[in-house]
């Protein structure tokens, strides 16, 4: 089955979404990430969505849920690289990604998670 790869860097997990996800794939990623947080004792999750030209309410909900599950498992989530057009559309759609930390790029996201990026 098709899957989005999750990379481990120290105690961080990094996901770069580069395909237009159908709903099942988005749910799979949510499950995989939650599992990996526990398995790898991760303290932070970086989700890079800079390649996504669309975030609809389903993908938005997946991101919010993942962040909430990570929080319960003692890990913090930062969503990085959202395209401006996507941000405008999300807000007008009514989705505010409540409780999700965001950063402009991976480097700033790492800083937010308390890591130096060299």
């Amino acid at each position: 089955m098709e899957r989005i790869p999750i990379l481990r860097m120290g105690d961080l997990l990094l996901v770069t979404i580069q395909v237009d996800m159908h709903d099942r794939l988005a749910m799979q990623l949510q499950d995989d990430l939650t599992e990996r947080i526990v398995k790898d004792s991760a303290k932070g999750v970086l989700i890079d969505i800079s390649a996504l030209d669309l975030v609809d309410s389903f993908i938005g909900r997946m991101i919010s849920n993942t962040a909430a599950m990570a929080r319960v498992l003692d890990a913090r989530t930062v969503v990085v690289g959202m395209q401006p057009a996507v941000a405008i559309t999300l807000v007008e759609l009514g989705l505010t990604l409540h409780g999700v930390k965001t950063a402009l790029n991976v480097e700033k996201g790492m800083t937010l998670l308390g890591k130096s990026y060299k």
Partner: protein, 155 residues
């Protein structure tokens, strides 16, 4: 023709005749699975690029299409979407008409309100989509089906 049909008849809505003189190149796509929603997003994006919609308007239209396509599958039990190229003499646009033969929406005003959902979602699909486009129309009858029309014009 009753009795001769093997497939469910799609909802016969007046919306099917919208802007009959102004549209060309109608393409019909099935909406049965979430892969179909991905295919729809791709087609809508291509058409939006073809008439040179701004990036923000492209994104809004594709996002609205994604929400409504998912609704057709999830709440309407599947259906079809019609993609139309529009030209009203002054400007070009894209029209999308989603049609299903599902149970219909009992209370449209409620369904358009943010946060209202019967399917465990966020309840942003209908009302949110309406905000993302220039024109929005809906026709729904109990046990016959639902049709939702959205139009985005090039500015």
């Amino acid at each position: 023709m009753t009795g001769a049909q093997t497939e469910a008849v799609l909802f016969d809505t007046p919306l099917l005749d919208y802007r009959a003189q102004q549209r060309t190149g109608r393409v019909t796509l099935p909406l049965r699975s979430d892969d179909d929603v991905v295919g729809l997003r791709k087609q809508v994006r291509e058409r939006a690029v073809a008439i040179a919609l701004s990036l923000v308007d492209q994104t809004k239209l594709v996002t609205a299409a994604s929400e409504l396509g998912r609704n057709t599958i999830k709440y309407g039990g599947g259906g079809e979407v019609y993609l139309d190229a529009l030209d009203d003499g002054m400007r070009r646009g894209i029209g999308l008409l989603f049609v299903d033969a599902g149970q219909g929406i009992p209370d449209i005003d409620n369904a358009l309100r943010d946060g209202f959902t019967t399917g465990g979602g966020l309840g942003l699909g209908l009302g949110g989509s309406k905000r993302l486009v220039d024109e929005f129309d809906i026709d729904s009858r109990p046990k016959e089906g639902t049709a939702v029309l959205i139009v985005k014009w090039k500015r």
